[in-house]
Amino acid sequence: MITAGIDVGNKYAKVVLLDGDRVLARQSRPTGFEQKEAASSALVAALAEAGISREQVAGVVATGAGKSEVVFADDHITEVGADARGALFLVPAARTVVDVGAEEGRAIRLDGNGRVVDFAMNEKCAAGAGSFTESMARALEVDLIEMGPLSLKSTRLVPMNAQCAVFAESEVVSLIHARTSKEDIARAVNDAMASRIVSMTRRVGVEKEVVLIGGVAHNVGFVKGLEEGLELKVVIPEGPEYVTALGAACAAREKAGNGGKDNG
């Protein structure tokens, strides 16, 4: 049975096609302002990648900030539920899931049976999400993907006082004026953001394995700051930005499995 999970995030719409325990295809499209179009074009691309037709998909479940825009989905689930399912699918020993996306951050604690025990989230403030690094990269005039590698080359700890992304941008400009190196500034930015995610994660309780998902997991500088703050190694699955969509596909599988086998 093939199912699809769609995660409409603030920046990208991601689709995962799942056939039993095998991922058939993964595709993403920039969300822009047309969330429904982004979601359907990512789905079309994923179907093409898998070489299957829409009729072969037994169920579609949407999640993410724009989930309600995906009118062609059979069902919606919360991002917390999708995160938990996706992380457990890839890392069965997961007890803590940290998801850091473009405009949201979440920390979820699971019990031994994979049930969500507690969670905390930030969707109000850019300082605890990928947008923060993005704004700072702009101020530093470096590519977003450079922020991680750059910060690993830092030789000096520079404190970052501003907690707000808007204020931090002015602070970065001041640091540039003060001839602070880009490497040191990049590290200050990543550490500042990591410390916010660390406090959020501590609120739900940290238990191994800690799985880090979401697009920001690609930022090695942030990961280093997070691991130092949590005082442990985190597990990052391959394709961390697709884990939430994968979780939605798992939910679609559960639903279609219970619902009836006459589908497809």
Binding site: F33, E103, C125, A126, S135, Q163, C164, A165, S170, S174
Partner: protein, 292 residues
């Protein structure tokens, strides 16, 4: 969005200076000065025997000491006065410890309350100071002495910096934002995102959905008003109520704060943005009188 090469700086507000040509500072007994080095703007005020003589308001540069000095020099431009002619100078604001020529540094909370007391009169009990990177709600007594306060300096929502971001996004000069935001037939729902970064994205979406600039500005001004009203309500608003700082000049935010509170803000012919520096100069005068 295309990044325009020679983008106009819509956020850039006018810098200004003024002095009273009818007053001869040389005959004054006590010439006192106040410099308010804020995170976004710096103001300098000179008082002669307790009367406002000169002031200037400029953008704060990356270097606090020179920002303070520039503001001062501009305030006393064409008056023949130099820094050395001032008996007592008090520094205040975010960069107050970086005013090398100041005799003393006093917090901006104390200075704003004192300045508001001078500008709006002794009846003022609640002062809302809306600065470039912070927002303060202050209670004071009839002498302008602070009795309690609350502040937000962690988040750009509800600050001048947030408004600058919006002026830039919509391509509207920051001085025009307030008036434009009032040119709507019907008050729209406030922008729902608190964070300025997210509010920017939200506003871009509203523009794409066909909203006029005026309507988007109305939605943002009302979100900002709501944000500061929340801060004010935590401390309680006791009349008279006065607003100081740059945003006090934004009629779109001020009207909406008044509407939400159901109270009218005190009026003045003074420049509300110099309240902090003015308060500092008043402290300077008092300290000079006490025997320098």
């Amino acid at each position: 969005m295309a990044e325009a090469e020679q983008k106009k700086e819509f956020w850039r507000w006018k810098e200004y200076n003024w002095h009273n040509p009818d007053l001869d500072w040389r005959v004054g007994k006590i010439v006192s000065g106040g410099v308010d080095v804020g995170s976004v703007s710096s103001q300098a005020v000179v008082m002669v025997d307790g009367e406002l003589y000169a002031f200037a308001s400029m953008r704060t540069g990356s270097d606090s000491p020179s920002s303070a000095e520039n503001a001062f020099n501009w305030a006393v431009e064409d008056t023949g006065m130099t820094l050395g002619d001032i008996h007592y100078i008090v520094g205040t604001g975010y960069g107050r410890v970086n005013v090398p020529f100041a005799h003393k540094a006093i917090t901006e909370i104390a200075c704003h309350a004192r300045g508001a007391n001078f500008i709006y009169g002794p009846g003022v009990r609640t002062v809302l100071d809306m600065g470039g990177q912070d927002c303060k709600a202050i209670h004071c007594d009839e002498k302008g002495k602070v009795t309690s306060f609350l502040m937000n300096d962690k988040c750009a929502a509800g600050t001048g910096r947030g408004m600058e971001v919006f002026a830039d996004l919509l391509g509207v000069s920051i001085e025009d934002v307030g008036e434009l935001s009032l040119q709507v037939d019907e008050e729209p729902e406030p922008v729902s995102s608190t964070c300025v970064v997210f509010a920017k994205t939200e506003a871009t979406g509203l523009l794409r959905a066909g909203w006029s600039r005026e309507r988007v500005l109305a939605a943002y001004c009302s979100a900002m008003a709501h944000r500061v009203v929340t801060l004010l309500e935590r401390i309680g608003v006791e009349p008279e109520f006065a607003i100081t700082g740059g945003i006090a000049k934004n009629v779109g935010v001020v009207r909406r704060i008044e509407k939400e509170l159901g109270i009218t803000a005190a009026q003045t012919s003074y420049d509300s943005q110099i309240a902090g520096a003015l308060g500092a100069a008043l402290f300077g005068r008092a300290l000079a009188q006490k025997g320098k």
